[in-house]
């Protein structure tokens, strides 16, 4: 059937829900999501959301700005970062007013704790001198994302926002650079629907499932990235993939940085607190790229611990924190260690390894979440992106912890406001003929295909090759291997066969389409990574170990080129207040 809405928002995580709250009464808005809204990935966020509230100690949004720019290894756009850090304070107070249950300090204010890479000058009169950790992360025990998602959903219920849960979006309808809607499969019935719209926002979250070890939910298959990419919209800075230092060994389930914020430390086989070597000033609270590399180095140099299956891990030691802090402030993550590894964090250290965590890159947008496709700021009319799928870019080459929950509410809101303006001023653009053709053909092909390839096998091989060659340490040679493999897997993908040929709740079919998205997303990551011959933030090339501002202080834009090699272009970094300097911690 054909639905008609002024605004269609794809994704009911923090970004999508926050945007939906901006669509004014009198206009129609639909939020489509492939899982129930409260199942969205935002709900897994643990540690916190930052804003320089200064509730625990003196702090300023400008310190936050500095940290974010430095954390991004100077690739973040400073105009966008300034907006985010400045707006953070208002955004958090707004969430509190919406009902979010924050942990509180003795004064009754929102409680705050330290987090990786968040600092302030030791001496306020010397803003560029030595820096010390600052309590900037606002939190609700270690369930910050969970209560944020609940609160935003609750406010959508209050507003009567219209949801289409378990609607799987497969395509974006765009012609002559004007967006006209999306195509979606209603999972329960298998029907293919067209959503004709004046404006569309993608708030579809990340792509962690491109990799074998990840903290991301199974639904994190990069759909938004792949759909946009296939429709000729470039992706920005895809080579920057964040690996979080502390995933539960083998499972990848996240142990939040809050564990180190509360005083936990990393140790190697010899019991050494190895981060003292790599980041002498802030040690275990160094940014994630720095710690993940340190961990790989420790393991390479023989100081990792080998498990029975031959893989290596290091230890996150919380034993000295005591039951008060562990049970009150870190209850969930200590529960994970107990349930999944049988480890009691009160008594023994937790086996951990870096886990694929966050997409710094994504669909390029300006500071109002409007999608822009080149270095001149050319917009795709009516198309918006916010949250993890978007690249504003506030995180540059490496995101700081707690900055994503902030990003989604700040830019989700800004995007929603712009959509509200746009729908008032524009009529519905006509739908092209056969707008759902790609989806129909794809579904038919998959259902009727009688090849010999299993979806799960191709997916697994993709996840292995990406983990082994395009993760924390990269080389040109390794990435090329991954690219060859992706090409092979794409061919084999044409030969898949699924078992479920039915219409209703066919998750076999959905997983097959998701695999196509994983493959396209992986392609964009691998080619972007091969192209950038320097090391910056999370992108570390062993064959080019230095940051090279002369040649590479610029954003990558990668464009799909049918079945040929993708095309790569660039866009300058916006630098306003802080010139690039050496990044040391």
């Amino acid at each position: 059937m054909i639905y008609k809405f002024d605004a269609v928002i794809v994704g009911a995580g923090g970004a999508g829900l926050r945007a939906a709250l901006e669509i004014p009464e009198g206009y129609t808005c639909a939020v489509l999501t492939k899982v129930y809204p409260t199942r969205s990935h935002t709900g897994t966020a643990q540690g916190g959301v930052c804003a320089a509230l200064g509730n625990e100690e003196e702090d300023s949004w400008e310190y936050h700005f500095f940290d974010t720019v430095k954390g991004s290894d100077f690739l973040g756009d400073q105009d966008a970062i300034e907006i985010m850090c400045y707006d953070a304070i208002r955004a958090i107070i707004e969430l509190e007013h919406m009902g979010m249950p924050f942990s509180r300090n003795e004064k009754g204010l929102i409680a705050q704790r330290p987090f990786g890479g968040h600092t302030k000058p030791k001496d306020p009169n010397n803003p560029f001198g030595e820096r010390v950790p600052v309590k900037r992360a606002c939190f609700s025990a270690d369930r910050t994302g969970h209560v944020m998602l609940q609160t935003l959903y609750e406010n959508c219920i209050k507003r009567g926002v219209q949801f289409f849960p378990e609607f799987f979006v497969t395509d974006l309808i765009v012609q002559d650079n004007i967006v006209r809607g999306v195509v979606a499969i209603e999972i329960a019935t298998g029907e293919i629907h067209i959503f004709h719209a004046k404006t569309v926002m993608f708030a579809t979250g990340g792509y962690g499932r491109v990799y074998r070890i990840t903290s991301n939910a199974v639904v994190g298959t990069g759909d938004g990235f792949a759909i946009a990419y296939r429709r000729g919209i470039p992706l920005e800075d895809m080579e920057f993939v964040q690996f979080h230092p502390t995933g539960l060994w083998r499972l990848g389930i996240l142990v939040s940085e809050a564990a180190r914020g509360e005083g936990g430390v990393l140790r190697n086989k010899l019991g050494e607190r190895f981060m003292e070597k790599y980041a002498p000033t802030i040690k275990d609270l160094a940014p994630r790229d720095v710690i993940s590399r340190a961990m790989y180095t420790e393991i390479r140099e023989g100081r990792g611990i080998q498990g029975p299956d031959g893989t290596y891990y290091l230890l996150l030691d919380l034993t000295h924190l005591g039951p008060e802090i562990i049970n009150k402030k870190l209850p969930e993550i200590t529960g994970f260690a107990r349930i999944y590894l049988g480890v009691d964090p009160l008594k023994e250290p937790i086996p951990v390894q870096p886990t694929t965590h966050y997409a710094m890159g994504g669909i390029p947008t300006n500071v109002d979440a409007e999608v822009v496709i080149d270095d001149k700021g050319t917009k795709v009319e009516g198309f918006y992106a916010a949250g993890e799928v978007a690249c504003v870019s506030v995180h540059g080459a490496n995101r700081l912890g707690t900055n994503s929950l902030l990003d989604i509410i700040v830019f989700g809101r800004r995007g929603g406001k712009k959509m509200a303006e746009y729908i008032k001023e524009h009529d519905f653009p006509p739908l092209p003929k056969d707008a759902d053709e790609w989806t129909r053909k794809t579904v038919e092909r998959i259902l009727n295909s009688n090849g010999k390839e299993r979806v799960s096998r191709i997916r697994k091989e993709l996840q292995e090759i990406m983990m082994d060659n395009v993760s924390v340490f990269r080389t040109g040679e390794g990435i090329k291997k991954a690219i060859e493999k992706i090409k092979e897997l794409k061919e084999r993908y044409q030969e898949i066969k699924i078992d479920d040929k039915g219409k209703k709740f066919n998750t076999d079919l959905i997983e097959a389409i998701e695999l196509g998205n994983l493959l396209d997303t992986a392609e964009s990551i691998a080619y972007s990574a091969l192209n950038r011959t320097e090391s910056r933030g999370a992108h570390y090339r062993e064959d080019y170990p230095k940051r090279d501002d002369q040649n590479w202080l610029k954003h990558t834009l990668i464009y799909k080129n049918e079945d040929k090699e993708p095309i790569i272009k660039y866009k300058p970094v916006v630098i306003t207040k802080i010139q690039p300097m050496e990044r040391k911690y």
Binding site: R39, T44, H97, M98, F102, R104, H146, I157, E332, K504
Partner: protein
């Protein structure tokens, strides 16, 4: 070890009746139930249908009945179910069924429409009448403590679908919705206590709860739901006086 999973199957397009199907597989005692379900779907039978997302007990997607008890498939290891010897072949199957009392969509996937309706019925959002201050509304750590446990709820429906009162009266609000009502009634910032108490002080409201504790045993987040319900009852009694 070798284990057999006996899984409830129903495909509305082809089956007139649900049935159980056995899958004998090789598994590790440390596997989660969700891991073996994935194994079956990936390697043996792609038609097996279930919901899942986070795989670590926080999104609430995969509540199901495992050996007769409601739980999250991602938060239970085979060894926790008593299948712990790596060298053994277990005869007793692991029985996997959808959450009871909900309409079946397909296999382990149930229809949550009614569950969400009850959730929405208790006005699950903060209601304030006084204008907001410039900064945050103040709450003491003790104020927050009062609602922290309730705010852990992941809306998985393990409790509501294990409640005998829900089974015997499908209009009963059920523990999850009541817990949500608590979450706001006991939020020091909320200003709609009376309105909310009216909603639960109804024939199909709180008084249907006979404190049988099934819900507490079922809750994967270890929320003491009946304690919260008893606080609500107390509040209602105080209001009468």
């Amino acid at each position: 070890m070798k284990v057999t999973l006996r899984i409830f199957r129903f495909n509305p397009e082809t089956d007139s009746e649900p049935y159980y199907k056995d899958y004998e597989i090789e598994a590790d005692p440390k596997d989660r139930v969700i891991d073996v379900l994935h194994y079956i779907k990936n390697e043996i039978d792609g038609t097996l249908t279930f919901r899942r997302s986070c795989l670590h007990g926080i999104c609430g997607s995969d509540g199901m009945r495992i050996n007769g008890k409601n739980m999250l498939a991602c938060s239970i290891l085979l060894q926790d179910l008593g299948y712990s010897d790596a060298n053994k072949t277990y005869k007793k199957p692991i029985v996997i069924e959808p959450l009871p009392g909900m309409p079946i969509i397909k296999d382990l996937v149930t229809d949550f429409t009614d569950f969400w309706k009850k959730y929405e019925a208790v006005k699950p959002y903060l209601i304030t009448k006084s204008p907001p201050p410039e900064r945050e509304r103040l709450q003491s750590p003790e104020d927050v403590e009062l609602i922290m446990e309730a705010s852990k709820c992941i809306l998985c429906a393990c409790c509501t679908t294990s409640c005998p009162s829900t089974w015997s009266n499908e209009d009963y609000l059920g523990p999850a919705a009541l817990l949500k009502a608590y979450r706001f009634i006991f939020d020091s910032r909320d200003e709609a206590t009376d309105e909310r108490l009216d909603i639960i002080d109804t024939p199909n409201g709180i008084w249907r709860c006979h404190t049988i504790f099934h819900c507490v045993q079922a809750c994967p987040k270890e929320i003491n739901i009946t304690w919260h319900i008893s606080k609500l009852k107390q509040k209602l009694v105080e209001r009468e006086i």
